[in-house]
């Protein structure tokens, strides 16, 4: 993915990218947390602490986004990532298309 950076949008670009990555990591943490909670491996108290920590992380991220005015650029990075992942998965699950694509890109 190409990242367009000029002096004017440097802040939005880099900060947006960083926060987008933090969000992705947070989402992964959440999934793990829910899995552990459901598996019964965590005590009530541990669940409570985990939940509070994640909640605080959520609030902090939202605050930073609002303060810096980067909500949109974070969303843009995440949309871009989603698109790339969609594309990769689409290719992986449809191997029959590889043949067609190879044929199309061949000189006629």
């Amino acid at each position: 993915m190409a990242i367009n950076i000029d002096e004017k949008n440097l802040k939005y670009g880099v900060l947006g990218l960083v926060i987008a990555l933090v969000e992705v990591i947070r989402d992964a943490l959440k999934i793990q947390a829910i899995k552990r909670m459901e598996s019964g491996a965590l005590s009530e108290e541990e669940c409570e602490r985990l939940g509070e920590a994640l909640m605080e992380l959520d609030i902090a991220i939202e605050e930073i986004k609002a303060e810096q005015g980067i909500t949109e650029s974070v969303q843009a990075v995440r949309d871009g990532l989603d698109e790339i992942v969609d594309g990769v998965i689409d290719r992986m699950v449809n191997p029959e298309r590889w043949h067609e694509e190879a044929k199309e890109s061949m000189p006629v």
């Binding site: 959440k30 909670m37 939940g51 949309d79 000189p107």
Partner: protein, 409 residues
């Protein structure tokens, strides 16, 4: 200095890119001594113009127009010499390689318009300057005419039909027949139409579309080709017309088959979207699992309640995905009944309040359009769903790519 200025005009008139190399080449060809300092200044100036233009869209820095205008008016060039010079430079510019640069067209037209009042005051170089100003107006590309054929599509018909000057940039559109099919073309250079200005490209595509409309009105079944399909001879021995006939000949069977397939049918775009907010509300009301989680949540401490909320979100998301699959199959089946062929396109991101569920290109027989739109009306009336129905289009999605070498691909 004035040589350089007129070289820029000459380059523009000839439709060549205006840059340092080309200015230098023209001056050298015309046998004019090159003033390096002035050349550098002009090149830098033209470049800054290009950046300014790109950044601000279509507006041109008024200072630049003012400068060029005063240059044009202030040059006390003897008229004879100017004539000779311009003639020489124009000839030299025509031989410089390069493409039409649409970016500069707007600029010089603006200059020409600004220059005209100055000219009418008749102070310095009246008739000649007028000629210069008039030569600045955009002209259809004539210098490279006849080398290639821009192909709009293929149609039934064994006669050459002239459709008039309805093509891109006013080109004369006509057909080149081979046996009982023919290609809809106009004469063009082998350079593909391209521009950095989105509006210009849009207007070209609209003309492409309107030519296909006119053609299908006059000729019947028309196989549309994509914008910017240009056929050109591989060598000097073959004429461009021959290349088009060769294409029709080599692709004849397939073209006839596609024509049989699309006869009496049009393409329609169908997009079905849902409103996630509304759907979430419906799900929360109906799902037993969600109701249970909500109940448990109410009694928990903040941290636990947060965890339950996350769990809830995941359950809702999974439920929407399951439902989306169901809807997709349901709608696809209902729409397919009314079509002769269907292509599933990629869904697009809309906005937060709407998610595109399915995006279809449908080949629909004319007599089935009403029943299809009735079916879509029913879907549209369902709570939380909306349908976007567009067409009729030429059946772009149902004609495979032509087997030709297309420049620019």
């Amino acid at each position: 200095m004035e040589e350089i200025f007129y070289t820029v005009l000459a380059l523009h008139t000839a439709g060549k890119p205006i840059n340092k190399e080309n200015i230098q080449a023209v001056l050298r060809k015309a046998g004019t001594p090159v003033d390096e300092r002035a050349l550098d200044a002009m090149a830098a100036f033209v470049e800054s113009l290009a950046t300014a233009h790109q950044e601000k869209g279509s507006t041109i820095d008024p200072r630049i127009i003012k400068f060029l205008t005063s240059e044009l008016a202030g040059q006390k060039v003897p008229t004879k010499r100017l004539d000779v010079l311009l003639d020489k430079l124009s000839k030299a510019a025509a031989s410089v390689p390069g493409t039409q640069n649409a970016r500069f067209r707007g600029m010089t037209t603006a200059v020409a318009e600004k220059a005209r009042p100055v000219v009418q005051e008749g102070r310095v170089i009246t008739p000649e300057a007028k000629a210069v100003a008039e030569s600045l107006a955009p002209k259809p590309e004539v210098n490279a005419q006849g080398e290639g054929r821009y192909v709009y599509g293929a149609a039934v018909g064994d006669k050459e039909v002239r459709l008039g000057p309805i093509g891109i940039e006013g080109s004369e559109v006509y057909t080149i027949p081979y046996e009982d099919i023919s290609a809809i073309v106009h004469d063009c250079s082998t350079e593909p139409y391209q521009s950095t200005d989105e509006e210009i490209v849009k207007s070209w595509v609209r003309v492409h579309q309107s030519v296909l409309d006119v053609a299908s009105g006059q000729l019947g079944v028309v196989i549309p080709l994509g914008f910017d399909t240009i056929l050109q001879p591989k060598d000097d021995a073959t004429s461009p017309d021959q290349v088009v006939r060769d294409w029709l000949k080599s692709d004849y069977e397939r073209l006839r088959e596609v024509m049989r397939k699309i006869e009496g049918k049009d393409e329609y775009g169908v997009q079905v979207s849902y409103e996630p907010m509304l759907i979430v509300k419906q799900i929360s009301e109906h799902s037993e699992e969600i109701r249970k989680i909500k109940e448990e949540m109410a009694a928990k401490s903040p941290g636990m309640a947060y965890m339950y909320r996350q769990k809830l979100e995941r359950v809702v998301k999974a439920e929407i995905e399951r439902l989306a699959d169901e809807w997709f199959n349901d709608f696809y089946g209902r729409i397919k009944k009314h079509t002769d062929d269907i292509v599933v396109e990629k869904t697009k991101k809309l906005n937060i309040s709407k998610v595109m569920l399915l995006n279809l290109s449908c080949l629909v027989a004319r007599e089935k359009v009403d029943s299809l739109s009735q079916e879509l009306e029913e879907i549209n009336n369902m709570d939380g769903f909306s349908v976007h129905f567009s067409g009729p289009w030429p059946p772009y999605s149902f004609v495979a790519k032509p087997v030709v070498t297309v420049k620019g691909e």
